[in-house]
C-alpha cells in the first residue's frame, strides 16, 4: 500500500493531474461534461415528456411551468427534445473525433516514420483535405449517402483526420532521430513495435489535446450540417436541426433556436476549456502559448 502511494506520489500522471486541477475553468468544464454525459445516457428516463409526443393544443408555446423550455411547432416539449438530441450531437462528436483520431494517428505515424515515398503521398492527401472547404466537402458527400447517424459519423471522421496527421508527423520527425529509437532498432524491434511502443507514447500529449478540440469541432460541424437539413433526419433531431426548425419560427417562438444554440455553445465551450487545460497540464512548455 505504501509502495503504491509512493508510486502515485512521483507518477507522471499525478503531476499532470495536479497541474490540470489548478486550472479552475477546465475543472468546472470537465465536471460539466461528465454530468452532461450522464444526463445524456439516462435522458429517456430524465426527460419530462416523450420527445416525439405531440401536444397539438400547445404549439409553439413559450417556456412555462408545464413545458420548461416551451414547445415546438408540433407541440413537442423542447427540453425533452434537447435532452434526447444531446445523444445524437455528443455521439456524433465522440465517434467522429475517435475515428479521425485512429485514421490520423496511423497516417501521421507512417508519414513521419517511413519518410519518402509514403510521406509525400500522405501529406499530399492532407493538403487536399485541407484545401477543400470542409463543410462543402461534407455536404457533397452527405448527399450521396443516406444521412443516417452512422454515415454522418463516418464522413466527419474521414474528413477530419488531417489535423492529427500533421501534428503527429511533425512530432515523429523529431522523435525518430533520438537514441532510444536507435536502441529499439538495434535490439531488433519491428517497425510496428517501434511506431506504437516507442514513438506513439512519446507523442501522446499533442494528440490528446487535438482529440479534445476535435470533439468540439465535430459537434460544431454536425450542428451546421443538421441546421442546413443534411444531418440526421426527422423525427429524430440533433441540436443543430432544432435550431434549423427554430429559424422558421424565430418571431413566434424564439425559445427554440435560443435554447438549442446555448446547448451547443456551452458543450463546445466546455470541450475547448478542457482541451486548453489538458495542454497546459500535459506540456508545461506550451503554457501561455
Amino acid at each position: 500500500m505504501t509502495q503504491l502511494r509512493e508510486r502515485w506520489r512521483y507518477s507522471l500522471f499525478r503531476q499532470h493531474y495536479v497541474r490540470f486541477c489548478k486550472n479552475k475553468a477546465a475543472v468546472v468544464a470537465g465536471v460539466f461534461l461528465v454530468l452532461l454525459y450522464i444526463a445524456m445516457l439516462i435522458a429517456p428516463h430524465l426527460a419530462p415528456y416523450d420527445p416525439l409526443e405531440i401536444h397539438l393544443l400547445h404549439k409553439l408555446e413559450a417556456p412555462s411551468a408545464t413545458f420548461l423550455l416551451g414547445t415546438d411547432d408540433l407541440g413537442r416539449d423542447v427540453l425533452s427534445r434537447l435532452m434526447v438530441g444531446a445523444q445524437i450531437s455528443l455521439t456524433v462528436g465522440f465517434i467522429a473525433a475517435g475515428l479521425s483520431l485512429i485514421v490520423g494517428v496511423c497516417m501521421g505515424l507512417m508519414a513521419g516514420y517511413f519518410g519518402s515515398p509514403i510521406d509525400p503521398l500522405i501529406m499530399g492527401l492532407v493538403d487536399i483535405l485541407m484545401s477543400i472547404p470542409a463543410l462543402l466537402l461534407i455536404l457533397a458527400i452527405v448527399t450521396i449517402v443516406p444521412p443516417s447517424i452512422f454515415n454522418i459519423m463516418l464522413v466527419l471522421g474521414l474528413t477530419m483526420w488531417a489535423q492529427y496527421a500533421r501534428v503527429l508527423r511533425g512530432t515523429i520527425l523529431s522523435l525518430k532521430e533520438q537514441d532510444f529509437v536507435e536502441g529499439a532498432r538495434a535490439i531488433g524491434a519491428s517497425h510496428l513495435r517501434i511506431m506504437f511502443r516507442y514513438l506513439l507514447p512519446n507523442a501522446l500529449a499533442p494528440i490528446i489535446v487535438t482529440a479534445t478540440l476535435s470533439v468540439a469541432g465535430a459537434i460544431l460541424l454536425e450542428s451546421g450540417l443538421s441546421f442546413l437539413g443534411y444531418g440526421v433526419q426527422p423525427p429524430q433531431a440533433s441540436w443543430g436541426a432544432i435550431i434549423g426548425m427554430g429559424r422558421r419560427f424565430l418571431r413566434q417562438a424564439p425559445h427554440m433556436a435560443t435554447s438549442a444554440g446555448l446547448a451547443i455553445f456551452f458543450t463546445v465551450l466546455a470541450f475547448n476549456l478542457v482541451g486548453d487545460g489538458l495542454r497546459d497540464a500535459l506540456d508545461p512548455r506550451q503554457k501561455n502559448r
Binding site: G124, D127, I128, M130, S131, I132, P133, A134, L135, L136, L137, L139, A140, I141, T143, I144, A216, L220, S223, G224, F227, L228, Y230, G240, I243, G246, R247, L250, R251, P254, A257, T258, A260, G261, I264, F265, V268, L269, N272, L273, D276, N288, R289
Partner: protein
C-alpha cells in the same frame, strides 16, 4: 525566387488534379436524377407522369448524362481547362456567369469579415500578450474561447432576433446598403477573431521571450520601438501562415452565414444547387474554392520572404 514559385506551382498541379477527381466522383455518385428533378419529380423520382420516358432520354443525351462516367469526366476536365465550366442543369445557362454574379457578394462579405476580425483581434491579442495575466488578458482569452465555441449560424439568428425583430434597427436579409453588411460581417468576423486573437497573443508572447528582444531592450531602445520594430515583424509570420487556411474556413462558414442572412453569394448558391442536384454548379464552386485556397497558401508561402529575410528559397 522565380524558380521557387514555379516549383511550388508545379507541385500544386497533382493536388488540383486529385481534387477534380474527388469532386467529380462524389457528385456523380449522388442519387437523385437531375433530369427528373428538373422536370419536377422530386428527389425520389418516380417514373412516368405526363412526361414521356423518351423525353427524359433526350434530355439526358443533351446534357451528356447518358455517357460512361470516365468519359463525362474527361470531357468535363477538358472544358474546365479551356475555361468552360459546363452548364447549370437547373438554370439552363453556363455555370461561370452564375458564379461570377455571386462572386462579388461573397468576396465583399469575406473582406468585411476579415476587416472586423482584424479590428477585434489585433488590439486584443497584442494587449493581452504585453500585459500577460491582466484583466485585458483574461478578457481576451474568454473572448477567443467564445468566438471558437459559438455556432456561426446561431450567432446570426440571435443577432437577427435582437437587432431586427426586437429593435428593428437592421434588415434581416439580402445585400444592399451598409446596414445589410453589419450583421453578416460581424458574425463572420467574430467567428474568425476567436482563433486569430489566440494566434496573435501566443506568437507575440513567444517572440517577446527571445534573446534579440532582450538585446534590443538592453541597448536602451524605447519599449515602443522594441515592440513595433523587433517583435511585430517576427510575430507576424505564424499569423500570416494561417490566412490561407482561413479562406477555406470562410468558404465553409459562408454556406451557413449566407443561408441565415439570405445573402446572394456563392455559399447560398452551393446550398441551393445541392438541393437541386445541380452537379455542374456544385463541382465548379468546390473546385474554385479549393484552387483559391491552394493559391492563397502559395501566396502566404511567398509573402514570408518579404517579412522574414531569413527564409531563402532554395
Amino acid at each position: 525566387m522565380i524558380q521557387y514559385t514555379i516549383r511550388k506551382l508545379l507541385a500544386a498541379i497533382p493536388i488540383v488534379f486529385a481534387i477534380t477527381v474527388i469532386v467529380f466522383t462524389i457528385l456523380h455518385l449522388t442519387p437523385g436524377d437531375p433530369i427528373r428533378i428538373l422536370l419536377g419529380f422530386g428527389v425520389g423520382g418516380y417514373a412516368g407522369g405526363d412526361v414521356g420516358d423518351s423525353m427524359i432520354e433526350q434530355l439526358r443525351a443533351k446534357w451528356g448524362l447518358d455517357q460512361p462516367l470516365h468519359i463525362q469526366y474527361v470531357k468535363w476536365l477538358g472544358n474546365i481547362v479551356r475555361g468552360d465550366m459546363g452548364n447549370s442543369i437547373r438554370f439552363r445557362s453556363p455555370v461561370w456567369p452564375l458564379i461570377k454574379a455571386r462572386l462579388l457578394p461573397t468576396v465583399l462579405l469575406a473582406l468585411v469579415g476579415y476587416a472586423i476580425a482584424i479590428a477585434l483581434s489585433l488590439p486584443l491579442g497584442v494587449f493581452s500578450a504585453l500585459r500577460q495575466n491582466s484583466i485585458v488578458d483574461y478578457f481576451s482569452t474568454g473572448f477567443s474561447l467564445f468566438g471558437m465555441s459559438m455556432p456561426v449560424f446561431w450567432l446570426g439568428l440571435m443577432l437577427i432576433l435582437l437587432f431586427s425583430v426586437q429593435w428593428r434597427l437592421l434588415p434581416t436579409s439580402g445585400m444592399g446598403d451598409w446596414r445589410t453588411f453589419v450583421m453578416p460581417g460581424f458574425v463572420l468576423g467574430f467567428s474568425l477573431a476567436g482563433g486569430l486573437t489566440r494566434m496573435i497573443r501566443s506568437s507575440l508572447l513567444e517572440v517577446l521571450r527571445q534573446d534579440y528582444v532582450n538585446t534590443a531592450r538592453a541597448k536602451g531602445l524605447a519599449e515602443r520601438i522594441v515592440i513595433v520594430k523587433h517583435a511585430f515583424r517576427n510575430a507576424a509570420i505564424p499569423v500570416v501562415t494561417i490566412f490561407g487556411f482561413y479562406l477555406a474556413y470562410i468558404l465553409s462558414g459562408s454556406v451557413l452565414i449566407e443561408t441565415v442572412f439570405a445573402w446572394p453569394g456563392l455559399g447560398r448558391l452551393v446550398f441551393q444547387s445541392l438541393g437541386n442536384r445541380d452537379y455542374p454548379v456544385v463541382q465548379a464552386i468546390i473546385l474554385l474554392g479549393a484552387v483559391v485556397v491552394i493559391l492563397a497558401n502559395l501566396t502566404t508561402d511567398l509573402v514570408y520572404g518579404f517579412i522574414d529575410p531569413r527564409i531563402r528559397y532554395e
